[in-house]
Amino acid sequence: MSDNKSFEPKIIAFLCKWTTYAAADLCGVSRMPYPSNISIIKVNCTGEVTADMILTAFEKGADGILIGGCRPGHCRYEGGNLKGANRVYLLKRALKEFGVNPERIREVGIAGAQGLIFQRAAEKFTADIRALGPSPVMSNA
């Protein structure tokens, strides 16, 4: 088994530009560092995140996937975030069938001004993924 202490998880974050992405941006501006394990991909809405995007992230080596969008009721595209959430819900069922721990995907709803909350969420997720260990998906030949 891998030595979790030396394992640095790779995390891909799909962040909605109106909310969570702005919060992450705010972290940077306010000098509130969040773990460098996280690579951010800006999307217009979490409803834009496709199964191909999530699964490709896993295939390319992501150990964890963070999806950050609007809180329910706040999506400017009228429920794009909820559609996205429904997709992730179903995709997690598929991941389970493939033996992948669905906890490797986490969804958060963080408003643009909540930089600190983003920092904390990012740190927690990174720690949780570190504890889970490397994703076994990448080692598929």
Binding site: T50, A51, D52, I54, L55, T56, F58, E59, P72, G73, G79, L82, K83, A85, N86, R87, Y89, L90, L91, R93, A94, L95, E97, F98, G99, V100, N101, R104, L132, G133, S135, P136, V137, S139, N140
Partner: protein, 297 residues
Amino acid sequence: MPNNKTLAFYAGSGCGGCSQSLMLSPSLATMLDGADIAFWATRSGDLTEDEISQVDDKGIDVLMFAGPVDGEASVATAKLLRRKAKRVVAYGACAHLGGLCGLTNVIPGAKLRELAEKNGGFIRPLSAVIDVDYVLPGCPPPQGMVERMLKELFLSDDVPDVGTVFASSKGVCGECDRKHLNSPLEEIRRFHAAPPDPDICLLDQGYICLGPVTRGGCGAVCPEANRPCTGCAGPVAGVLDQGGAILQSLASLVPLSGDVSGEKEHRVLDSIQDIVGTAYKYSAASSLLKRRVNDGE
């Protein structure tokens, strides 16, 4: 019109449906007229490594490869065959996607995994082990698609571009005659008690149909027989993971309840049974996830 090409057919394992689909094609005689056949193997036992090695490298103009790559031996054979052929066609769902066999990559179960390990591995699509020039999808490829492939490969002076898939790049829905009602997905239905209304879109009626994410070219025969498309021709152009795509579409069709907990939506989504058999019936092995892994279980 004699075509003066050297061709070969190889089906190492598989159910035999692809060999039959080719044999039954009305254009077969025309294709074979003047063609040189390097070999026509319908079982792996039909052809030894020595016999394949005796063929000149690039000595075969078109090699049609059917059946799954299901272990070290077949990987080696595929690589050897690749050397001997100018162009390779992945013939049928097993070669294209891993096919129904691919479900064995995902299903937990001691006996089945034992068999998989014995065979030296797991099911892979042909393109995972060699460069594939063309794809003829289907389980087995329907007659129209076979005819199209024969015409473009053997009965024409032009050579199709590498990457050609002998099917539509768009979904089966384009060929399906059923009426669209754009109904939300409020209840998943199965083939119990009464079959669907044959005139209305299956998804509108709550039956899971993979038409939207599956390549057309088959004439939507399954919906015509009042059965759902099960995805045998693989994903439409631009989609990498066919199972993910249909799950994504189904999730998007569930109406938003306005309830923050999402309980109503979850109930609908939870009622989808046999997720892998439904979403990944033919494509489990070519999913981005490829096979079942051990994630701390």
